[in-house]
Symmetry: C2
Subunit: 492 residues, 2 copies
Amino acid sequence: MHSVEDSGSKMNIQEFKDFACASIDYIADYCENIRNFPVLPSVAPGYLSRALPKCAPEKGEHWNHIMEDLDRNIIPGLTHWHSPYFHAFFPTGQSYPAIIGELFMAGIGAVATKWDSSPAVVELEVIVMDWLAKILGLPEEFLNCSEGPGGGLIQNAASESTLVGILSASHKKIQQFRIENPLMDEWEIRGKLVAYTSKESNSSVEKAGLIASVKMRLLPTDENGSLRGSVLEEAIRSDKINGLVPFCVVASLGTTGVCSMDNIAELGKICESEKMWLHIDAAYAGTALSCPEYRHLINGIEHVDSFNFNPHKWMLTNGDCSALWFRNTTYVELAFKTKAALSVPQFQPELEHRQIPDVRRFRALKLWFVIRIYGVEGIQQHVRRHIALANYMEELVSGDSRFSVVVSNLGVVCFRLLGDESVTQLILERIAMKKCIYIMPYYYKKQLLFRFVVCSRFSTRADIQKSWDEIVNATNEVLITIANSKDPVSTV
Amino acid sequence: MHSVEDSGSKMNIQEFKDFACASIDYIADYCENIRNFPVLPSVAPGYLSRALPKCAPEKGEHWNHIMEDLDRNIIPGLTHWHSPYFHAFFPTGQSYPAIIGELFMAGIGAVATKWDSSPAVVELEVIVMDWLAKILGLPEEFLNCSEGPGGGLIQNAASESTLVGILSASHKKIQQFRIENPLMDEWEIRGKLVAYTSKESNSSVEKAGLIASVKMRLLPTDENGSLRGSVLEEAIRSDKINGLVPFCVVASLGTTGVCSMDNIAELGKICESEKMWLHIDAAYAGTALSCPEYRHLINGIEHVDSFNFNPHKWMLTNGDCSALWFRNTTYVELAFKTKAALSVPQFQPELEHRQIPDVRRFRALKLWFVIRIYGVEGIQQHVRRHIALANYMEELVSGDSRFSVVVSNLGVVCFRLLGDESVTQLILERIAMKKCIYIMPYYYKKQLLFRFVVCSRFSTRADIQKSWDEIVNATNEVLITIANSKDPVSTV
């Protein structure tokens, strides 16, 4: 009789089941009661190192000690990203099917490098990425099952997808440039490469430029926060005069601030004529493409070389799960495939040569769980529901004459308090102090805005109303304090 | 009364619990019966796309359809990385505490960027990385809690850790070089940078050089597969004559082939005097440092700038979980912190500026579960048990006069069949065809070896015996076939 326990472990299969079942109950309770936690924690920096031992335990502990510590030390230090009162950043993907997907990924523990190291891991990713491309309405050329060299795979994060796009673009440009200028040194060309993005794009785009060691220009946007063709054209013209080599544009569908959309059609035409790579960062907004009424956002997709969105943002899938497609995977392999690897032909597609790590987790599994259990209709319903909640928030803001909605896109509503901006600052501070809702400030076109995002899959109209009430109460309190401080009696 | 269901979902909390409990049972059964699966699958490329629909379902499905598909289509296409008969690559971390750690990470769904976006996520990582550094016996300077600028964090993979190390090194060297040569262009310096590693190092090191756009020399090793100081010195001398700028050495503790160890003390002294960065890739072997009897492997650690090992390899932790420490985090922030980020001071440490992505999952949680439930003793016991099993395999090989052990390090045993190498090839093919065990060939010092690794946490002496029996049987069968084909009667 074989033992199924590893001898180092204090945990046998029955204890695993007990621990797991207790954990499932814990998670279900957490979800059911998530509204009862203040969305932001009240801990000071270093709180946890004051609470935990300085060293690992010599002897193994029973799992119920960990459960106690979760309640005592971990949960109180968490920001509750899935609370209906969390309106910061963007949604972070989570759902019951995805949680169990992660459980299965860990429980089976399958990973893969090349196809033959675990065929199901590679093949399911190839299939699910095609399902996803069809859900979004991406053109045939991006599909793994297409005749051509296009295809998609799962990356770790949008930051990584952007970096992979930029590196592919730079290798393509260097290859092309060296054919035209065979005597030019590779690093001389590298020093001249310049990429473009808008000032409103995510900070990870600038970071990707830094990591890839290329110049990255942050261009101004139009009155809607959109990067337009004319601005790009002017930047290219000026850089070329200075001897630089424009090679890539990273356009945003859904900027981090106000969720504005760059004009892909205009940018795409210029990229085409300038032989530049066009990468789309649709990390959040990409999920909206699952609804036909938002497909117009990718007008110009025929000019796009690489397209990224994160199912781990708005598509109910736990991180990490960042989807990236290429029109032509030849260039990404130029950037990632070593000489040694070139000599070893493998079954196609060689996903490991289209990313930074060599090994992949079975992330396709959780995505497959989510898509099957929600269905396309369920995903569309989720998107439309969030947008309807954002519209409801807009209504609430518009109903208060002290406020004005500045810009609203998909699940993101940005509004301002009319009058003195220092009052807005005080209100935001008061909201942050009370910790009942989490919203962020955003400076946009020289105005300080309240940036409110519908994030939680649990959010209802009642929750949105409650969040708005918090903002109104904080506003009233601040205005009363100001009025009192200006009271002639008290100032005498 | 609030609804706790997101309206897009067909799954409510009770269904979540049912699905989760069924999944726990499934995983427990899978672990208990893992020996019953052939370790390698019998599927042809494209098997899964022939079995699954071409598009996502419009309407959501019930979870039990997915469970059926797991049995029918997924499990048959998996290589069972945790089978006791899996002896390829290296161990892939998994354990009951880590599985539940992943479940919790997904169920709570906490992520973090900066400290204040989720203090517990950042602080637990800082603490657990210190625990880990102490378990391995790394010097004080690498600890987050130390006075100086050192510290550690969790990365995605060793590939990424190596890349982060190389980028940090290049930024440090460029900064230093420009102070000495203020008129020199940044890209002119970049074009001259050269890094070194051994021919035996993991392919991800060469890939990291490609991604970072630096020259990477693959240097020969000594008779033990170790990169030595004299070889490095000669390469540096020759590159400097050619106007290049040596800036980094990536040394391996446990090479991918035979798990050989580079001579850190010798390489470190040279790096010190040449002002070069020394990065250690101890992805697999690092876990052995938890046992004091293997601490001698890091003699010379006082010269090391960055040190990486993967708890998700040998330390029972599910991927992704790659631990990376720096002696001085200033240089990694030089490589990853954008100008925009520089202007926003935050609570320390700013982990998001020491890695590619901006967001981190709560990976520290699973590592904390593993360390607490195993304890330091449990981890040591696991390491010593695997090494004892490798020693047992060595005994078995040595007991058969047809074979000879060529090299054995930690859990890796490499051996050869005496005589004609083409016979080895036939035996390996026969083993691969039978799919009962998974071992890999490795060419080392011009010899074709059987590379056998103790990987599974479930492995026992009986399993090792069974794996060896498979090799012996395949050998006997091949030798009999050859003998028969040479039989004068049959060749007449």
